[in-house]
Structure formats: structure tokens, C-alpha cells
Symmetry: D2
Subunit: 143 residues, 4 copies
Amino acid sequence: MASELGIHRSQLRVRYAETDAMGVVHHAAYVPWLEVGRVNLLRATGAPYGDIEARGLLVVLSDLQVRYRSPARFDDLIEVQTTLTSLKSRQLAFRYRVVLLDTGTTCVEGMTSHIVVQRTTMKPVMFPADLHDLLVPWLVSEK
Amino acid sequence: MASELGIHRSQLRVRYAETDAMGVVHHAAYVPWLEVGRVNLLRATGAPYGDIEARGLLVVLSDLQVRYRSPARFDDLIEVQTTLTSLKSRQLAFRYRVVLLDTGTTCVEGMTSHIVVQRTTMKPVMFPADLHDLLVPWLVSEK
Amino acid sequence: MASELGIHRSQLRVRYAETDAMGVVHHAAYVPWLEVGRVNLLRATGAPYGDIEARGLLVVLSDLQVRYRSPARFDDLIEVQTTLTSLKSRQLAFRYRVVLLDTGTTCVEGMTSHIVVQRTTMKPVMFPADLHDLLVPWLVSEK
Amino acid sequence: MASELGIHRSQLRVRYAETDAMGVVHHAAYVPWLEVGRVNLLRATGAPYGDIEARGLLVVLSDLQVRYRSPARFDDLIEVQTTLTSLKSRQLAFRYRVVLLDTGTTCVEGMTSHIVVQRTTMKPVMFPADLHDLLVPWLVSEK
């Protein structure tokens, strides 16, 4: 996983369990891959998601958009390219590109939005300032 | 499953395997539920998805949007309300509302777009006229 | 879901997401179906699993055995036949048969063992007497 | 992935999507990890599973046994240790140990048996001699 600030690169290999009877990866199986990209980006910032939960917070997903361009198949090597595109006091958003590592073909483009909530109440709360500061250098403004 | 033309209603119960460490249904687990709604709607029209594949066609997903409003939990009874919102010669689109059956609370709203392709070539093709005709009465135009 | 005491019958339909590139149900997808059968049996006894967790207990799986006999396919109607085969103070075991509803063909036979633990400590504890008593009439001794 | 002949070592990280409301990895989520171990072992032998399917064969799972010893949690680094324990003309078997990479704690022990079948007929067939020969050096006899 080589990543510069701004774009995080996670690599994974397609599991047989992620394919479906069309002979390609099932559309729902890409969604956990976006999560893998997001979790790895957070770890790279120094604010791993486990630490966020350890403070009694959850980062819940509020919006998901996925555009499917080209199928991935069993055993393909995949790169999930993840970018933090929005960082507010109570909200985060990420953008994703899932590509075949060998050819660079884009399989999927995605976007997720998230809200920071308190675990016990499920009410939105401020993202702790120290964690927020760790994410700032990774923010890539969308034109 | 009671459904009038236009909106199809599928019922299911949340599986423990669909929950995550937040104690609620994982966001990716809703995606197969939308598929359940869509597949049941197609069966209700008289054009079950298996028959479409038996003609050498696939209906592949090209776009997915999900808005998460309120969490579902283990053992909740769920209704997936599915509407066919677009029907063109090579494309289909559906809209979904996932609600808690007991309270009517909306958990998730979703939208999917699909392209009809030939299995062997993965190239877009016309949806067969007889199957298309079975779907027409279920089409609900979006305002 | 018609069930006599002793054997509980749960019905479900195979989801496309549960198939794999072999064109049949992926072997891992049967495991949540066993859970569906077990959870439905517990609900039928009057001791729904949610109530067990509400008392601060977890029923954790300790052993799983599955024998695969014949593949299930997309859209097949499935019956999960579940039997409680062992009931001790801290342990439970279930046996399963997964059949195609139309033909009665056995797809899978399974067995699971479980331990009752306290959620906070993950240590084995006694199954509460009132819940235990609700399960007793469902116990089917194995020869 | 450092592996000597005999035991193959695959590493992966627990995904949030693999956890459940007990706060640990759901028991069904380990089953695809065994598959990851098996697929990686086959690739290491020089007989990748994709090549086996490319010859019109499937290696279908006939038996699965999993013993759950200690829970894995979100973000844990996992090693799947896979051993080929039986290699006959039409059958294969593997044994697995899933451990926490940091502590060496065993989470799960597993066993799978497989049958080689022709894709078109689903009938058992001989494993091709050249592929069989590639696997022989990896076979570890069980005492």
C-alpha cells in the first residue's frame, strides 16, 4: 500500500465468495471494498477508526453512490483509491475509484457521506479536534 | 407480499449475519435487499429474472444510490417497497423504500439503474418486446 | 412457516447475491441460513434470541459442520429444517437439513454447537432457567 | 505472505463488514477466509484455481468443519495457515488455522473436503495429472 497524502491506495484480491452467477463480482461486494479504502486512509492519517469508536463515537454512513463501469472478476488484483473530499465538524465525505491493478481499468467510482454520532444516543456530535486535525492534511477539495 | 400494480412490497426479517459491530444492520447489507425487491417485482410482472437470463441476457447494475435515514436492527421485520421508474429499450431503473414493518419508519431510500446486455458479449441489447410489454403496466413515471 | 414441535421449518428464497461464479449458491451463504433456522426455532419456543441478549447473554457458536449434497440455485425456494438436539446448562446444539421446497432434494445437512456466555466477560454461564424450560419441549434426542 | 512448502500463510485484515452485533467477527465470515487461504495455496503451487476452471472443471466443496476458539475483531491482522492434507484422483482436503498475527492466538480451526467435477455435468472427474503433480510436494500427511 503505497500512498501519497491526498489519495490513499489499498490493494486487495477478489475472493471467489465475492463473485455471483453472472461470473463477475456482485455489485454489493464492492461496498465493503470502499470501506476497506476508507478505514485504511483513516489509519494512515493517524486516526484509526477503532480509536474513534474507543471514544464512544461512531462514524455512520448517510449516503452511498456507486457507478459501475467495468466488471472485476475472481482473483483480480484490485486497487481502491480513496480521497477525503469533505471534512466538517460533524460530517465527512470520501470519493473512491476501484481499478484493476494490472490494466488500470476503472471498475467502479463511488462516493460516501458520513455523520459523526455519539454511540449511546446516535445523535450527531462534533468530531474531536485532535482527530479532525489529523485528517486536515488529507483533505482534497473538489472543484 | 401484498402488492398493487406500481409498487411492489417484499417482506423479510433482518438476519444476525447482516448486523455489524455498531449493533445495527451494516450499510452494505441493504444492497441485496434492494435486489430482493427488484427480483420479486420482476416475478410479479410475469417476467422473472431467471427467464431473462435463460434467453442469454443479463440485466447488469450500472448505478446505485442509497440514502440511509434510520437504522434497522436484528430481527426487525422489513418491507422493501420497489417501483419501476424507467423502462427504455436497453435500460431500466428502480426506486426503493425500505421501511420497518411495525412502525413504518423509513430506514433507507434507494435507486438503481440497469442495462440489458448479452451474456456472451456483455454488449447492450434491446430488451425482448414480450418481456418489455409485461413490465409496462408496472411503470410509474417520476414527476 | 408451518412447524410441529421438534422440527422447525423456515422458508426462504435464494438471493442472487448468494450465488457465485459456479452458477450456484456459494458454500458460505448456507451458514446464515442455518442461523435463520435457529433464530426462528428460538422465536417459536417463546425464547427469542433478542430476549436472551437483552439479559446480557450471548449464545456464541463453537462448532459448525456442513455437508454439501446438491447445489441450490438463484430463486430456488428453500426450507431450513432445524432441530434442537442438545440442551445442557451452558450448551446447546442444533441439527439442520436444507431442502429444495419443490422437490424435497437435500442441499445441505448441518450441525452447530453453542455456548452461553456473559456478554461483558465472554465467560460461560448458566442458561436462565425460565428460558431453558421453554426450550425443553423442543429437544429431540439423537439416537 | 511468507510460506514454506507444506503450510501456506495468507494475511488479511478484518473488515468492519465482517463483524456482527456481538462486536466480533460473525462466524460465517471466517468461511471465505478459509477460501482465501486455499486459493492462495493453489496459486503458490503453480496451479491457480482460475486455471482449473479454465479447463472446464470445478473444485466443489463437499464438507466443512469449523471450530471457533477465540473471537477476532475489527481491524485485527489475521493469518490463515493452510495445509493440503489429502490429494486423491478426484478429491482434495485442506486443514486451516486462523490466528491473530500479533499474539498467535488461534481464532478458528477448520477443515474442508472437495470434489473435482466437470462444470457442464457436475459429475466427478479425475484431477488433471499435470495439476495433480504440482500439488504433490505440498501434501502433508495427517498422522
